[in-house]
């Protein structure tokens, strides 16, 4: 049986706030398999974003382990972590986080440029255009982000997150800033990305519709898992 793409074992995270320790996550254990969609559900402040940052190796647990493809993130060097983000992890944010000074195409191909992947600018552009085509926005390649609607921007962000075929796709409130129609479209693409590209998708949401597409729903409250449902 293949190992899970992502595994959290007894993960806790404590921050210091004005000298006082604040435990944001306590003893979290979960896993996400390739091709699955896992939804983290809970109210604001329950620790969803912190958990996503730990899962994406942007932060590190105070206790426990985070393993991506069986490798503990805490044991990786800075260079290895950078390589991990370039090749194995893709992020989608609530507020899209597109670079306003780059065109849509340039935004999508940015991870490939940063990774200095094989092939030159042309092959990066071709890959980015293909990804844009998958989200239905190849005709917007030359546009700037401010010329797009919210839903379009989030689809571009999704294309950017998938252009390098990551093993793990992390989405933080991907529909939080979208209308219903756009939100549904994005959710469909997230679901599709798990099936088509085999990514393990981890979605933080407090939207019932977003949770509905998930194979596994993990309910968080005050930094603890209070329920775990499999669809």
């Amino acid at each position: 049986m293949p190992s899970p793409r992502l595994e959290l074992r007894g993960v806790s995270k404590t921050y210091r706030n004005g000298g006082q320790p604040v435990e944001v996550l306590h003893d979290i254990s979960l896993s996400a398999d390739a091709g699955s969609v896992t939804a983290l559900v809970g109210r604001s402040g329950c620790g969803k974003t912190t958990l996503l940052n730990l899962a994406g190796a942007m932060d590190f647990p105070t206790a426990g382990e985070v393993l991506i493809e069986g490798r503990a993130t805490g044991s990786l060097s800075e260079a290895e972590l950078t390589a991990l983000r370039r090749t194995r992890v893709g992020f989608v944010f609530q507020f899209f986080q597109l670079l306003p000074t780059l065109t849509v195409l340039e935004n999508v191909e940015l991870p490939l440029l940063l990774a200095r992947g094989p092939g030159g600018p042309r092959s990066h552009a071709a890959a980015a255009l293909e990804q844009l085509g998958w989200v239905g926005l190849e005709d917007k390649a030359a546009s700037l982000p401010y010329q797009l609607s919210g839903g379009q921007m989030q689809r571009v962000a999704l294309a950017r997150a998938l252009v390098h075929r990551p093993d793990l796709l992390i989405a933080d409130e991907p529909t939080g800033n979208l209308d219903t129609v756009s939100g549904d479209h994005v959710l469909a693409l997230l679901r599709e990305s798990a099936k088509r590209f085999g990514a393990a998708v981890l979605v933080a949401t407090h939207s019932a519709e977003a949770a509905a597409i998930a194979d596994v729903r993990v309910r968080l409250k005050d930094g603890r898992i209070v329920a775990l449902e499999r669809a």
């Binding site: 992020f91 670079l99 306003p100 000074t101 440029l113 600018p121 950017r160």
Partner: protein
């Protein structure tokens, strides 16, 4: 006040590195302006004679070109007026451990304030002197000690008979006869001073004196010489002042940028303030108050720093004054309250003026626009097309200003043209940034760092443009002055080839300096030309006579030489179209002269004009036969043949001799022989090469202060660049954090910031070089010409410029190192999720 504290003061305190950088930049700008003013005042000295201490109050001074005949003392003393007259010799002597010191020759027995009991000759029969208290303290000698001086190159000893309280003044006073003997000035005085009794009608006395004396004698009030000195130096001081203002201009860019960044960052807060009822004027006031804080803090620090800097540079300026204008000893550097307040006011005014435009923009922010969520970027309302039009307008105005004639000798048109050229460059910057960005679009796409850097520069065009403009201004100053100095140096070097044609030069020993004409010993003529024929090995000797000339309210030099020797051996260059041979042949025995280019430009003299000069006791009208190029004095020369001068000033001593050797003669051997024959006469025999080296060394020292000013302007610009890059990093931390999420390494983040700095530096170098070339043309062909009267040939030092630009670009990159480090160390998880 509370609003200002929370909206302005607290963010400044949080952003301490940038706040301090801005304050430091303003401080440097103010410091340079204050330092140049204070050092200039001190270096040019008071020029006040210490005569009042020695001789009492003077009401009139009588001088003459070539010296005052001492027989006039008796004639004036016999006038039926209630006044005292006394003779004065005032010159410079060399004193070991001190250098130049003012030496007065007075009638010690009969001078007012003199003492009947202060003998000119002491009991032992040795000549005695009086020295000032300040000098006595400096050299550690007291009454009764022996003072050893060098006068006109010859050693002399005097017993100190008296130490006189005279404040900070340092001088030596001899009896007039001793002074005349030591200096070889028999029958001649530097001036006659007159003190008018209280009950004497001053106007009547002055009229009587004028009627009595030859019309060529100059009668002036005390202080006229000081005013003459100040006038002589004004062009030099004004040019230094203008150079010092450049740092302030660059600082102004920095303030503008800082306030503009502040406005952008606080747009949301401004919107909230307006929404809750704050008036537009309140918003304007808040940002002007921020600028006021920078200006006041920076200026206060700058005034103190300026005082320290003045102490460090006063000798640089004094050296130049002594080398090129007149002998003077620097006075102590003094910072008065008036000057301190002026420095403060300058810093505050510059800050407020610079901040006005962004502060005005802030007050026009609409509440709804500022508070709209999701709108993270404020698009700069910068129209590059409008900037192009403004640039064209400024350039046209600069060209028009360059055509203006000087105003009271000041090249005001030139200064205005330079400022307008800077404005033209500043306003074209946005268009330049965009154009270069678009031209390199395909190139920058190859790497993420270059792509992101290029787009960042374009997206923050208003800020980028200001940084580029500030850097370009500093670079332009460096380039223009470098080109001007390089061209000048090359011109002078070529001129020295022409001017210094003799193999050996003989002059009186002791410290030289502008305005000093120590005479050669009379025996020298017989030594170099025994029996009227030159020594074996010598082809010809040109004995040159130089003396101070007062003409048109300005000082110049009247010189006389053997112009037949000059014609045969020299290569004097005259203005285009003038026949050198014909001119030099036409001078001997006639009332004709050649004048130097600076003299001609200063006094509006053309070839063929007639000059009436007071020489000795006569007004002599000379016809100007030609105008020649000359670079050793901005005051200028009037040169006649020896036969002409000696007709009006018989017995006038020579001041230096140019020795031309016969072909094949051994220069070293002849030099040694002349030195042997002149041993003990107090002369120096220098080869041509030594004189050239000395001349170039004087030239290089003259411009040392200029290089120092440029360096400060560049430092201010670098501070501005570092400040702006840091601001860009802090404002884009979310974007930089995002890049880490997308797989950027810390090194790539650093590379992006450094690439941005590299682009900025490159753009600034291109613009700065272009502006610098334009400014150098203004400096060379307009400012210098109108200020000093010289023609400088255009010789841009290409290799030096390229090296300097490369150095500036490297320093720009260095300025980006700290911001790049800050960018690389941002915590992505924190910054991406900031609200």
């Amino acid at each position: 006040m509370r609003l200002w504290r929370s909206l302005i003061l607290r963010p400044l305190a949080r952003d301490l590195p940038r706040t301090l950088l801005t304050v430091l930049a303003v401080a440097l700008g103010v410091a340079v302006v204050v330092a140049i003013d204070l050092a200039g005042d001190a270096a040019t000295g008071s020029f006040r004679s210490s005569m009042e201490t020695l001789g009492g109050k003077t009401d009139l001074e009588i001088t003459a070109n070539g010296g005052v005949d001492e027989r006039w003392i008796g004639v004036l003393a016999a006038l039926p007026v209630n006044a005292r007259v006394w003779p004065v010799i005032e010159t410079q002597a060399a004193l070991a451990g001190v250098g130049s010191v003012t030496l007065y020759g007075l009638d010690m027995l009969n001078a007012p304030g003199g003492r009947a009991d202060s003998p000119a000759v002491d009991e032992a029969g040795a000549p005695s002197c009086a020295i000032s208290e300040a000098l006595a303290r400096r050299i550690g000698l007291a009454r009764g000690a022996t003072l050893r001086l060098s006068l006109a190159g010859r050693a002399a000893e005097f017993r100190i008979a008296q130490v006189t309280a005279a404040g900070a003044a340092e001088f030596v006073a001899l009896d007039i006869a001793d002074a005349q003997q030591a200096l070889g000035r028999y029958g001649k005085l530097d001036r006659i001073d007159v003190a008018v009794a209280r009950n004497q009608d001053f106007a009547a006395l002055e009229a009587a004196v004028r009627r009595t004396l030859p019309s060529s004698y100059l009668i002036s009030k005390p202080g006229a010489r000081s005013e003459e000195n100040q006038r002589m130096l004004r062009a030099f001081r004004w040019n230094l002042r203008v150079l010092s203002y450049i740092s302030l201009v660059v600082g102004a860019f920095l303030i503008y940028n800082t306030i503009a960044i502040s406005v952008v960052r606080r747009r949301a807060e401004i919107g909230i303030l307006r929404a809750v009822g704050a008036a537009r004027a309140t918003v304007l006031g808040l940002f002007l108050a921020e600028a006021l804080l920078f200006g006041a803090a920076g200026a206060a620090f700058g005034v103190a720093l300026g005082r320290i800097l003045a102490g460090a540079i006063v000798h640089l300026i004094a050296d130049t004054v002594n080398a090129l204008y007149t002998t003077s000893r620097p006075a102590p550097v003094e910072l008065t309250w008036a000057e301190a307040w002026t420095g403060l006011a300058t810093g505050v005014a510059v800050a407020l003026v610079s901040a006005f435009a962004p502060a005005r923009e802030a007050m026009q922010v609409a509440p709804t626009e500022a508070m709209s969520r999701g709108s993270r970027e404020h698009r700069a309302r910068l129209s590059w097309k409008r900037g192009l039009w403004w640039s064209a307008g400024f350039a046209a105005a600069a060209w028009a200003a360059s055509l203006a004639a000087p105003l009271d000798g000041y090249p005001v048109g030139g200064y205005a043209a330079a400022l307008l050229a800077v404005a033209a460059a500043a306003t074209v910057t946005p268009a330049l940034v965009l154009a270069v960005n678009r031209a390199t679009r395909a190139l920058v796409r190859r790497r993420a760092e270059t792509l992101l850097a290029a787009r960042s520069l374009e997206s923050s065009l208003s800020r980028t443009s200001v940084v580029v403009a500030a850097l370009a201004t500093a670079i332009a100053m460096m380039a223009s002055v470098g080109i001007m100095v390089g061209s000048f140096r090359e011109t002078v070097t070529l001129w020295l080839d022409v001017q210094l044609r003799a193999d050996l030069y003989v002059r009186a020993a002791g410290p030289g300096g502008a305005g000093a004409y120590p005479p050669l010993p009379a025996e020298l003529g017989a030594i170099l030309e025994p029996g009227g024929r030159p020594l074996p090995g010598i082809a010809a000797v040109d004995f040159f006579h130089a003396l101070e000339l007062h003409y048109g309210g300005e000082r110049a030099t009247l010189g006389a030489g053997n112009l037949e020797v000059v014609r045969r051996f020299g290569r004097l260059r005259f203005l285009p179209g003038e026949n050198r041979e014909a001119i030099l042949r036409s001078l001997k025995g006639r009332d004709r002269a050649i004048v130097s280019e600076p003299f001609a430009n200063k006094h509006g003299v053309r070839s063929g004009a007639r000059l009436t000069l007071p020489i000795g006791s006569q007004l002599v009208t000379l016809t100007v036969a030609g105008i020649y190029y000359e670079y050793s004095s901005s005051q200028g020369y009037v040169i006649v043949d020896n036969s002409t001068l000696l007709r009006y000033l018989p017995g006038q001593p020579a001041t230096n001799a140019a020795v031309y050797l016969a072909p094949g003669a051994d220069a070293d051997a002849l030099r040694r022989e002349i030195q042997l024959r002149t041993a003990g006469l107090g002369v120096v025999v220098a080869p041509n090469s030594e004189l050239r080296r000395a001349a170039i060394a004087v030239f290089d020292r003259t411009f040392a202060i200029t290089w120092a000013l440029e360096a400060v302007a560049l430092v201010v610009a670098m501070l501005g660049a570092a400040n702006s890059l840091l601001a860009l990093v802090l404002d884009r931390r979310r974007e930089l954090g995002l890049l880490r999420y997308l797989g950027a390494s810390p090194r790539q983040i650093q590379g992006m910031i450094l690439t941005e700095a590299g682009f900025l530096g490159l753009l600034a170098a291109i613009l700065g070089l272009a502006l610098g070339l334009a400014l150098s043309v203004l400096l060379i062909f307009l400012v210098n010409r109108q200020s000093f009267g010289w023609t400088i040939q255009f010789h841009p030092p290409g290799a030096m410029m390229a090296a300097a630009l490369a150095a500036v670009w490297s320093v720009t990159l260095a300025a980006a190192l700290y911001p790049a480090r800050v960018a690389a160390r941002l915590n992505p998880a924190e910054v991406v999720h900031e609200e």
